[in-house]
Every structure is written in C-alpha cells, then in structure tokens.
C-alpha cells in the first residue's frame, strides 16, 4: 500500500444545506487509477460528497462548504480556481442517463468540446475512441447521426460515459450510474468501468453491495445516524470492508441488517 499515489484527496470535507449540517469531516484519499466505491443507506450524504469532488453541489443555492479537495495536490476550492475548469478535469456520470435530446449520437460525444469552447483536430477519431472506450462503438458505429434518444437506456448511459471520456478527464465520478438500468445493461456498464480503471481514477456511488464488490478496489461506508451529519464509518480495501469489517455498523449494513 505504501507506493500508492493519490490523484484525489478529500480533507475534512464538511457540507451544509442552509442550517443543516449534512457531511462532517470526511477524509478520503482516492488512489490513482483505482476504483473507489461509496456505499451507505439513502440520505447518508454520499451523493452530496461525490458532488463536492467537482463542485456540482454548488448548484444548490443554499449549499455551504468547508475543507479541501486536492486534485493532484491543488485545492479545487482554492482562491481563484474556476469551478468550470475543475469540471473539465473531473468528469461525471449521473443516475439517470441524460444524453442531450436535440443532438445526434456523434454530436453528444462531441458536446463537451462544444460546450467548453474547445477545438479538436480530429473529431472523427475522438468520437471513435471515446465510444470504443465506453464499449458502445460496435452498437452505434453505423448510426452515428441518429438522435441520441433512439438508443436504449443502457446504451444512453454508456453514451454519457463516452461523452465524459471525450473530454479526457483524469477522474471520473459516477453517481449510481446503474440504478436506472436493467441487469444486462448494468453488466455492460460494469465491464466498461473495469476496462477504464487502469487509466483513470474512478469514484462510484452505489446502492448495490454486489456491484461495489465486483468493481471497486476500495470501499468507503457512509452513515448518518439519528439526524447527525453523514460521515465515513469505515474505509479500506473492498474485500476487507465486506468480509472483515472493523466497525459493527459496517458489518450490519453489508450483511443487510439495515439500510
């Protein structure tokens, strides 16, 4: 474990929505090019936490934040850091597939470039590599100009992954990416995650214990008890968290006693 480097580190992250303290002193380090799963019952703050990693939680007007998030040793909450620039390096995939309905499949893949005002020399190549990395190329290569909504839900989600990959992010955040998908599509997305893992740092929120065990190298267990703010109860290698949890609450959760 000692030779691991950390792409992304959260230090003493605290979040408030208005007066309500929802996350307290979260310290997590995400090893470079590994998959980290965030698990925990609904309302424990894991979705809020993943949003602090690319400053998406700031879209909620009442949100307050304290702490540091270090991306390659630079605090993304530091003075003069533009959240828009942060999001260029930290991609995000959402719970519900959200391809842009007015664009074709190809335009969706390139939408990030257009939206951030970037230019790229070889769009065709970028479309192909992004779709290949999201393992959807073979299904759509003959109909790149079809509307994105003509795809099935699972294909739409992989298209959204391809859309994030086209921006070349160092970190990919996934907020329950499979919760709206059927088991077959879920498997395809998980395979995609495993293929991407060697080249990028992935953080995934999931409600599905088996999914965490299948894809994640480390797992963090979040909990918010009796109205107290959410915090990390246990963080470690996935095997250890699931098979020999240190904290009894983790044991109860991963064995289905609550949540």
């Amino acid at each position: 474990m000692s030779n691991l480097t950390y792409h992304l580190r959260a230090e003493d992250v605290n979040v408030w929505f208005g007066e309500r303290h929802v996350l307290k002193n979260v310290n997590l380090a995400f090893p470079t090019n590994q998959v980290t799963a965030l698990i925990g019952p609904s309302g424990c703050g894991k979705s809020t936490f993943i949003r602090t990693l690319n400053r998406m939680h700031e879209l909620i007007p009442s949100a307050g934040f304290a702490g540091k998030v270090l991306l390659d040793d630079e605090d993304i909450y530091g003075d003069g850091i533009d959240p828009v620039k942060v999001r260029l390096n930290v991609g995000m995939v959402f719970q519900k597939p959200n391809p842009f309905p007015t664009m074709s499949i190809q335009e969706n893949v390139l939408s990030g470039l257009k939206l951030s005002g970037r230019k790229n020399a070889n769009n065709e190549e970028l479309v192909e590599t992004s779709l290949r990395r999201a393992s959807i190329w073979n299904e759509v290569k003959d109909r790149l100009n079809d509307p994105a909504l003509s795809l099935s839900g699972g294909q739409q989600q992989r298209l959204c992954i391809a859309r994030s990959l086209a921006m070349g992010p160092k970190v990919l955040l996934m907020d329950e990416p499979c919760s709206a998908l059927d088991p077959g599509s879920t498997r395809r997305v998980e395979e995609t995650i495993l293929e991407l893992a060697p080249e990028m740092t992935i953080v995934i929120v999931t409600h599905n214990m088996q999914q965490a065990q299948r894809v994640a190298d480390q797992t963090a267990f979040f909990l918010s008890e009796d109205g107290n703010p959410g915090h990390v109860v246990e963080f470690g290698a996935t095997e250890q968290v699931f098979e020999q949890p240190i904290d009894p609450r983790t044991n109860d959760y991963v064995n289905g006693h609550f949540g």
């Binding site: 690319n54 998406m56 879209l59 007007p61 828009v84 620039k85 999001r87 260029l88 991609g91 995000m92 959402f94 519900k96 959200n98 391809p99 842009f100 309905p101 007015t102 939408s111 990030g112 257009k114 939206l115 951030s116 005002g117 509307p147 994105a148 909504l149 003509s150 795809l151 099935s152 959204c160 859309r163 994030s164 921006m167």
Partner: protein, 358 residues
C-alpha cells in the same frame, strides 16, 4: 392427477373502470335525449309562438331531465339516473359550445367569402368611398400594416420576454417575486389603457404624429406577459438533469443555456411567441388611438398613419353601408386566415427533428 386449468380468457367487465367506454347504445340514447328536447322546444316556439323563456322552463328543461333519467334507467337500471343526467348534460352543453364557436367562424366565412378576391387582398383603399363597389380597392395596405406593426412589436417583445423568462428560471435573482407580480398585473392591463397611455405620451404631447411605431409600442405591454410566462413554463420543463449534464462537462452557465436548454425548449418558445402574436393581432383600440387608420399603403412605420386589419374592420363597419359592411366581413376573414397561416407555418417550422424511440 393433473389438474386441468381453464385457460379461456375472461373478458374484463365493461363497467370495471369509471373511464371505461360507454356502450354505443348508451351513447346513441344519450345523444337523442340531448337533442330531441331542444328540437321539441324550438318546434313549440315556432308553432305556438310561445315566449322563449317560457319554452325554456316549461318545455325544454322538464323534457330534458325526464329523457336523461329514462336513458339512465333503461341502460343501467335505477342506479343509472344520475349517470344519465350527467352524461346528457355533458353532451348537450359541450355541443352548445361547439355550435356557438362554429357559428362564429361560419358567419365570418359565409359573410366574408364573397368579398374575397385578388383585388381585395392586394389593392389598397386609396380613392375608395364607403359605397364603392367591391370590385375596386381592398385591404392590401392593412395586411402589410398589421404585419409591420405586429412584427415590430414582436422584434422588441421576444428578446424582452426571453430575458424575463431566463431571469425567472435560470438565475438566483432576488426580485423574482416582484417581476412575477408585475407580469400578472400586466396581463390584466386593458388594451385601450395601453393605447391611451402611448397616445398621451407621444401623440397628444406633440412628440410625434400618428405613426406605426407608436402602435407597436402600445402592443408591447399586451404581448410581453404572454411571451414571458409561456417561455418561463417551457424553460422550466427542461429536465434539470440536462443542465447538470452540460455543467458537469465543464460548460460555463451561458453555454449550457444556449446549447442545451434553449434547443430543448425550442418548440415551447415558439408557442410562446405565437400566443403573444395571437394576443395582439386582433387588437383594435390601441391601434385606433396610435396608428390611426390609412387608406394608402405606408411601409414606413416611423412616419404617418398606418392602416391595419382591425382598424379597417372597425372603420368600415361604422360606415354602415352594405358595401362597407361587406368589406368589414372580408377583413375579418382575412384576419382569421392570416392567424391560421401564422400558426401552421410556425408549428411546421418548430417541429423538432429528433424523433422519439420507436
């Protein structure tokens, strides 16, 4: 021993759901019960010369109620009385509304059609007297005037309305409540007041004489609330996931709006503009006070009186001669056709090119 199950499907009883289709027999009886009493009442008036109100209360209402109850009893038994009454009342009242609406449109078409001709649509009204035969002169200048005046208002109102809607939906502005209240108040503004205000401010004060742009100005406050509120609804309907998706890709807020939210709300925004245009294209009072009326074609909205279809109609119905009333009906029909053309072409133009999944 193996148990044999009967797999013949059982038809779902027709009465299983309150929204189940009524049987054709019931619909036929109910329709008869809605129409026959009205016909009998009208017949009684024609034959006996009975007073209309008397016929309504003595002949029509009792007949209608009894007929409706009978229909209910024959089809559903005693518990069907209320059902029969409600269905008959629904059929009768809704056909009454359709007849009213249809008769308005029909009277415009039947009276206005004979006035329509190439010369009526393309010529202006210069040298035409109220009693001149319909072979000469027409509403060409008024069509152009209406399009210019309303077009100018639209050019100003659409960006204003869009900006208002964006402020209400996309920003965290503090004055949202006030803006919404103002919009509501504005949509209750009587059009003649708007015209009078512009008249007093620009024409009575001597700043300008009658001119097209004053008319456009008077129409803006009438159009703005419709455009802003309908656009606001359209923007609100764009799922928040799409905005978040765009922002998560590293888009600045304005690019996310222009490239994702706006295209997704396109057809709603076109509807907003259409409703705004429809709201003002028939406005007469503000135009009578500001653009006045003209018989000559005037293509300069910044100088001189300008004709428009509603003011043309207003003037010619006021002359009171057969020919002039004929011209007024013609103008009414032209307004109807113009609105229909605008609506259909805007709908076709805004049809989204993306198709939903098969």
């Amino acid at each position: 021993m193996e148990k044999v199950t009967d797999l013949t499907p059982v038809a779902r009883p027709k009465t299983a759901a309150p929204w189940s289709r009524k049987s054709p027999q019931f619909v036929l009886y109910a329709s008869l019960a809605s129409i026959v009493p009205a016909a009998v009442a009208l017949g009684t008036i024609a034959l006996t010369g009975m007073d209309f109100m008397a016929a309504l209360f003595i002949v029509f209402l009792p007949l209608q109620i009894v007929a409706a109850a009978l229909v209910g009893i024959t089809v559903y038994g005693r518990r069907g009385i209320l059902e029969g009454l409600l269905v008959v009342a629904t059929i009768f009242l809704s056909s009454f509304v359709f007849v009213l609406l249809g008769s308005v449109i029909w009277s415009v078409i039947s009276n206005g059609f004979s006035a329509l001709s190439a010369s009526f649509i393309f010529q202006n009204n210069y040298y035409i007297q109220p009693k001149t035969s319909l072979e000469f002169g027409g509403v060409g200048h008024s069509i152009l005037g209406s399009l210019l005046i309303v077009g100018l208002s639209t050019i100003v109102t659409v960006p204003l309305g869009l900006a208002t809607a964006v402020y209400l939906t996309e920003t965290q502005g503090k004055s949202k409540g006030i803006i919404r209240t103002l919009l509501q108040a504005m949509s209750g503004l009587p059009s003649v007041v708007s015209g009078l205000f512009i008249y007093a401010m620009f024409i009575a004060s001597g700043i300008t004489t009658y001119a097209g742009w004053t008319g456009s100005l008077a129409l803006i406050p009438l159009m703005l609330p419709t455009v802003a509120r309908v656009t606001e609804e359209a923007l609100r309907l764009v799922p928040v996931e799409l905005r978040n998706g765009a922002l998560a890709l590293g888009a600045p807020a304005w690019r996310a709006f222009v490239q994702v939210t706006l295209p997704a709300a396109k057809s709603g925004i076109v509807t907003a503009i259409l409703l705004g245009v429809a709201r003002v294209i028939g406005e007469t009072a503000p135009l009578v006070l500001t653009t006045f009326a003209a018989d000559r074609t005037n293509l300069n909205p910044f100088e001189g009186a300008m004709g428009s279809l509603p003011t043309y109609l207003f003037n010619y119905i006021a002359f009171g001669f057969d020919e002039s009333i004929q011209r007024a009906w013609g103008a009414a029909l032209v307004i109807l056709i113009l609105v229909a053309i605008l609506f259909i072409s805007a709908r076709v133009a805004s049809r989204t090119r993306t198709k939903a999944r098969k």
